[in-house]
């Protein structure tokens, strides 16, 4: 059964890695619902957060293909109930319409939105939340001459995760593919072979 999976990919910070990761999906004609890259809690290690709809069998195979990449440390995959996730969205609406319409203000409160910019000509609101929260506000604001809308990719924290360093070590204990010893060096840049 296909369902939403969030993949968290820990990598080296290297030019070209984005492409190396993306082609693993495009080669299999899997479209990405969301793709985010950011620094992680460990200096110089990056994390990608990728959302796809697929079966667990396919996801497992992809995780191994991702881990096969020389610059990838570790990949986790989780269903939505195993993670805390958020997106941020920005909405640009004509200020005149907002001023006139009290209902909009009420709506904004309901959706937990904030005004980030208020100008004579337009106002920009911001909200963070999950897809439906963001989309519901979008639906509402569309009725009020919405000028522009943008939504960020998903970022997610794994509920059970105690940070990657420990998680990597834990996972490796149960995972016959990995030698935990390699990761003792994770936080000691000077001790490792580096480019």
């Amino acid at each position: 059964m296909k369902q939403e999976f969030t993949l968290t990919v820990y990598t080296e910070n290297q030019v070209g890695l984005l492409n190396k990761i993306a082609i693993i999906f495009s080669r299999r004609k899997i479209s990405l619902d969301s793709f985010n890259s950011s620094p992680s809690e460990i200096e110089n290690i990056y994390r990608f957060t990728i959302v796809i709809r697929e079966t667990e069998t396919v996801v497992k195979n992809i995780v191994r293909q991702l881990e096969k990449n020389v610059e990838v440390f570790k990949v986790f995959y989780n269903t939505n109930d195993e993670i805390i996730w958020q997106q941020i969205a920005l909405y640009k609406v004509p200020t005149s319409v907002i001023m006139k319409d009290v209902k909009v203000e009420r709506l904004l409160r309901e959706f937990g939105a904030r005004a980030v910019v208020i100008r004579d000509d337009y106002t920009v609101f911001e909200t963070t939340g999950q897809d439906d929260e963001v989309d519901n506000l979008l639906k509402e604001l569309s009725k009020y001459s919405l000028i522009e809308f943008v939504k960020s990719s998903r970022i997610a924290i794994i509920k059970s995760s105690e940070g990657v360093h420990k998680k990597v070590l834990d996972m490796e204990k149960n995972d016959p593919t990995n030698k935990p010893i390699n990761n003792e060096f994770l936080n000691h840049k000077s001790m490792i072979f580096e480019m």
């Binding site: 191994r64 990838v72 016959p176 580096e194 480019m195």
Partner: protein, 582 residues
């Protein structure tokens, strides 16, 4: 190895010396004990070639006639020797000409380090003359690639390249070096081989409990069956593997890539798997109760239709690459690790059982294949020559000691079905990619990688024309390779499919050939053409006895077919022995 640069560094009292990037490249190769390079120069790699000039006595550079020839030669070299093949090519067209070989080397796990020149760093992205984004082009077909724009990166990146290419599951690495980095002077402190990359774990640790589970399954099995691939050869685990099957008394079949890991006439060897493999091992895959896969990846040419593959069997999979486990076939026990390590552990725990009935089944199937297919193919008495009888006579003359390098098509399947091979690393072929034009350059590389061995390239008339320019390389560098063209006047394998599945509509498969012998002679290579049964033995003998390279063209039956065959989309047990069964 003490290199010249290192010498200078020592003389300077271990102080950094000022070196160019291109000299650092040469120094890296010498430090990695590289002796042979296959390449072709051009503008963007000229500084490296200039530095190479001073080291011609240490580095044997083979000037090929096409960069595709260079990379296939490097593959042949790596496959026979177990060393990493090294390739030089220039930017743009030189680099793009490597693409087929990279894809081939990746899918067949061949260790290569390819060094390409690139335009000056300040010109990157400007569509400069001969600029191609080779890094992005080759990302999906390399194990690792990297672009160097600054000379200071050269020693460490090359060290990493050699380490990654050879360790774990081997594969091709491409390093693109901009011209400014090659020319740049920098403070060089010598070359340090790489032994660890923090995000890369080439060898999974072995878990004893999986070994125990696997041994238990094997010991309980009534009909165990071993299928093995190139992993054994890549892991140098031929002895360990032989002890394993001998102790367990396990019938074992090879994939085309695993061929020669045990002698082809080993009593426990039951033949080749795959679309044109042997009848017994294919058919009985669906009869065994425990299937033990060692260093193979369940390619679709081996499994046929997956939902009809070994469904009754519990599968044990030994592989070094975690991504192969459960990729195509679900395992009951997966033994992740280097089979050089895992096999002896498993051998310790298994029992010797005789299982005569199970072996009998293989014999019965073999008999059936022999009477319906093999006998006709190897011992015809009338009509044109068959490919099989050519291989048969060749076996008698070489006694199975030669390295057989095959191209792609019917002759490849026939050669792999019937060639006798006594030693490991004797079967060099393009398995996963099926690259026509592979054999001639790969044979050149194979001869350089194993100069003491007889190397025979076996090609079809189609494939022989795909990298025929490499006869020029043979002319110039004189590797003693024997070239055997089995000419059926067709693109035979495609014609076979057209006959069997497209109502004999021979759409563009009748291919004309030049007079191959005359072409060879134009390159100063002696040759002969034969078409009669009476000439066969003597012709082959002449080829083998010739002190240098020799081209023998054998005219064979035009419309012969390779059988048995697992038709596409069918299960392995639906293997057919003749056209009438399709």
């Amino acid at each position: 190895m003490k290199t010249l640069e290192l010498d200078k560094i020592e003389k300077a009292g271990r102080q950094p010396i000022s070196t160019t990037g291109s000299l650092a490249v040469i120094d890296a190769l010498l430090s990695e004990s590289v002796t042979t390079i296959f390449g072709y120069p051009g503008g963007a790699i000229m500084p490296i070639y200039d530095s190479l000039f001073g080291f011609r006595d240490k580095l044997n550079h083979i000037l090929v006639r096409h960069e595709q020839g260079a990379i296939h030669a490097a593959q042949g070299y790596a496959r026979v020797s177990g060393k990493t093949g090294v390739v030089f090519a220039t930017s743009g067209p030189g680099a793009t000409n490597l693409v087929t070989g990279l894809a081939d080397a990746l899918i067949d796990s061949t260790p290569l380090v390819c060094i390409t020149g690139q335009v000056f760093a300040h010109l990157l992205g400007t569509d400069a003359f001969q600029e191609t984004d080779i890094i992005n082009i080759t990302t999906p077909i390399t194990k690792w690639n990297y672009q160097i724009t600054d000379a200071t990166e050269i020693p460490e990146v090359l060290a990493k390249a050699f380490y990654i290419a050879k360790s774990g599951r081997p594969g091709p690495v491409l390093i693109d070096i901009t011209k400014n980095a090659q020319l740049q002077l920098f403070d060089y402190i010598g070359y340090r081989p790489c032994i660890h990359v923090r995000s890369y774990r080439p060898n999974p640790i072995v878990r004893p409990e999986y070994i125990e589970q696997a041994a238990k399954l094997i010991n309980e099995a009534k009909k165990p069956f071993v299928v093995f691939g190139q992993g054994i050869i890549l892991g140098n685990a031929e002895k360990e593997f032989q002890s394993f099957i001998e102790k367990g008394n396990l019938p074992s079949a090879w994939t085309i890539m695993g061929m020669s890991a045990i002698p082809t006439d080993h009593p426990l060897g039951v033949g080749m798997l795959g679309m044109h493999g042997n009848y017994g091992p294919n058919f009985l895959t669906n009869e065994c109760d425990v299937l033990i896969a060692v260093g193979m990846r369940f390619d679709d040419r081996v499994t046929g239709r997956l939902d009809k593959y070994a469904k009754q069997a519990k599968v044990i999979h030994l592989d070094i690459d975690p991504a192969e486990i459960d990729k195509n076939v679900q395992t009951a026990v997966s033994v992740w690790g280097d089979c050089k390590e895992t096999l002896p552990l498993l051998t310790n725990l298994i029992e010797n059982k005789s299982r005569p009935e199970w072996f009998k089944e293989f014999e019965i199937k073999k008999e059936k294949e022999t009477t319906t297919v093999i006998e006709k193919e190897l011992n015809p008495t009338e009509g044109g020559l068959t490919m099989g009888e050519v291989i048969q006579v060749l076996n008698e003359l070489t006694n199975g000691d030669a390295v057989i390098v095959t191209d792609v098509g019917q002759h490849q399947m026939v050669a792999c079905r019937y060639a006798k091979q006594n030693k490991t690393r004797s079967n060099i072929t393009s398995g996963g990619l099926g690259t026509m034009g592979y054999a001639l350059p790969a044979a050149i590389g194979a001869k350089l990688g194993a100069p003491e061995r007889e190397v025979i390239a076996i090609m079809g008339d189609g494939g022989a024309q795909m990298n025929i320019q490499e006869l020029g390389t043979i002319m110039q560098f004189q590797p003693n390779v024997k070239i055997l063209i089995l000419n059926n006047s067709y693109l035979g394998m495609v014609r076979q499919w057209q006959e069997l599945f497209h109502e004999k509509r021979y759409s563009f498969t009748d291919i004309q050939s030049p007079n191959f012998v005359q072409v060879a002679k134009a390159y100063n290579i002696d040759g002969r053409q034969i078409s009669q049964r009476e000439e066969l033995r003597e012709g082959l003998k002449q080829m083998l006895d010739n002190p240098s390279s020799f081209l023998l063209e054998v005219a064979v039956l035009h419309e012969d077919n390779v059988f048995p065959m697992v038709p596409q989309g069918k299960g392995v047990a639906e293997i057919v022995l003749s056209k009438e069964e399709i």
